[in-house]
Homo-oligomer: 242 residues x 2
């Protein structure tokens, strides 16, 4: 290879790396917006702030637009750069991650819509303690999932896979106590159901954060750990099967 | 191009087309399994057949395995064939579709788990009429979505996008009548909640069928119609904006 073509190929490769970095940057921007949507949706409920809840519902469009833009960028990188190996895995992981972030956005929007109903019904704060607790947990999971993606930190990612089980336990326990409330006071049923939908949305946000963490492992290790039991996973990792 | 290299390139291209056809065949096989999972999960509930419900829960692993296999095949096609234009769109659409089918499988498994609880509680057939009606509707949607994918039939795909709104209306009306049941009889709360989770799962299956239909439009027209209002969509299509 002569010097000119070497410089040319370095230039191409620098441009390509820049494009891959941009994909990650845009994914992180989308993640930041989605985090804020979840925070605002729960905040709107806890502070009885209907107008904030309405803003969350309206902002969901911005989340959707970001996903479409990221998907287009990824498709263009695939078509023009034809990446292989870890570069290909990055692009595919970004496509998958954007899809999960979009679904987290949907859940935030559902939380906000139920918050509007609950604020209007003005029927006490039953279940709000549980909503606060589980929302703090899943918001930390989303934040950690995004951090692990940005830093390609598989240790942090694997920690998350375990935390999802904790959220599931908290969720089930909260659902049981809400069911008891319902049985004790039939007039509360409609409001308690709204709180249940909110808890279900939070539990699903935890699932999506878990998916994000799995993509980080796929990205770094080239290992697809979806549908793998967390216990087996640790064993596989320790035994160096990845 | 001399004859030998021409024959060689025809051979490559025939092989490539064969690989793309195989991706579609495997996606259809996964779709067939997922359709059966939904049918069996609902059938288990309506026929009070716990052992069928348990088989559905156990079979979810097969669905997950199929998704991982399809994803691997798609990644290999991307890495080795570096497809562009409509071939690239096909591979990306298959990745997305497999993800939605996997989630439909998850929902079928949730339906089966709730069916097991309901059969055990033996607390009457409240809400079963609604479950039957909505399940028939969403199963038809899943079947049509797969057909539209296999035939690249955008007309059928666009019909589905409208049907999802109908399912949402049926779902909301069913939820309202179930809430009334709950208020009238506090002892029914736990069972009615299980039926509500089943209806919610069916409603989400309709959403995923809708996503599948959107990928068909993306695939054929190169147009991303996710997050587009169905009304605007018809207008765009009629005005030839695609």
């Amino acid at each position: 290879m002569d010097i000119t073509s070497d410089i040319h190929s370095q230039h191409i490769s620098r441009q390509f790396n820049q494009e891959l970095d941009e994909l990650k940057t845009h994914l992180m921007a989308m993640g930041g917006l989605v985090e804020k949507q979840v925070q605002d949706a729960v905040g709107a409920l806890l502070d009885h702030d209907s107008s904030l809840a309405e803003r969350v519902v309206a902002n969901d469009r911005a989340v959707n637009d970001m996903q479409i833009k990221i998907d287009e960028e990824c498709t263009q990188v695939l078509a023009r750069r034809q990446p292989t190996a870890s570069d290909l895995r990055l692009v595919l992981a970004v496509i998958r991650a954007a899809s999960d972030l979009e679904r987290i956005g949907d859940e935030a929007s559902k939380i906000a819509r139920n918050a509007i109903d609950l604020i209007e019904a003005d029927n006490g704060n039953r279940g709000f303690v549980e909503v606060r607790m589980i929302s703090e947990h899943v918001r930390r999971m989303v934040r950690d999932a995004l951090t692990s993606f940005a830093r390609l930190d598989t240790e942090l990612a694997l920690k998350l896979v375990h935390e999802d089980d904790e959220v599931d336990n908290e969720y089930r326990s909260a659902m049981r106590s809400l069911m008891t409330f319902m049985m004790e006071d039939a007039r509360s049923i409609s409001s308690v159901l709204s709180v249940m939908w909110i808890l279900r949305a939070l539990e699903r946000i935890g699932d999506h954060a878990n998916n994000l963490a799995e993509y980080v492992v796929y990205l770094v290790k080239g290992l697809d750990i979806r549908h793998t039991d967390p216990e087996d996973l640790d064993k596989d990792m320790l035994e160096g099967k990845s």
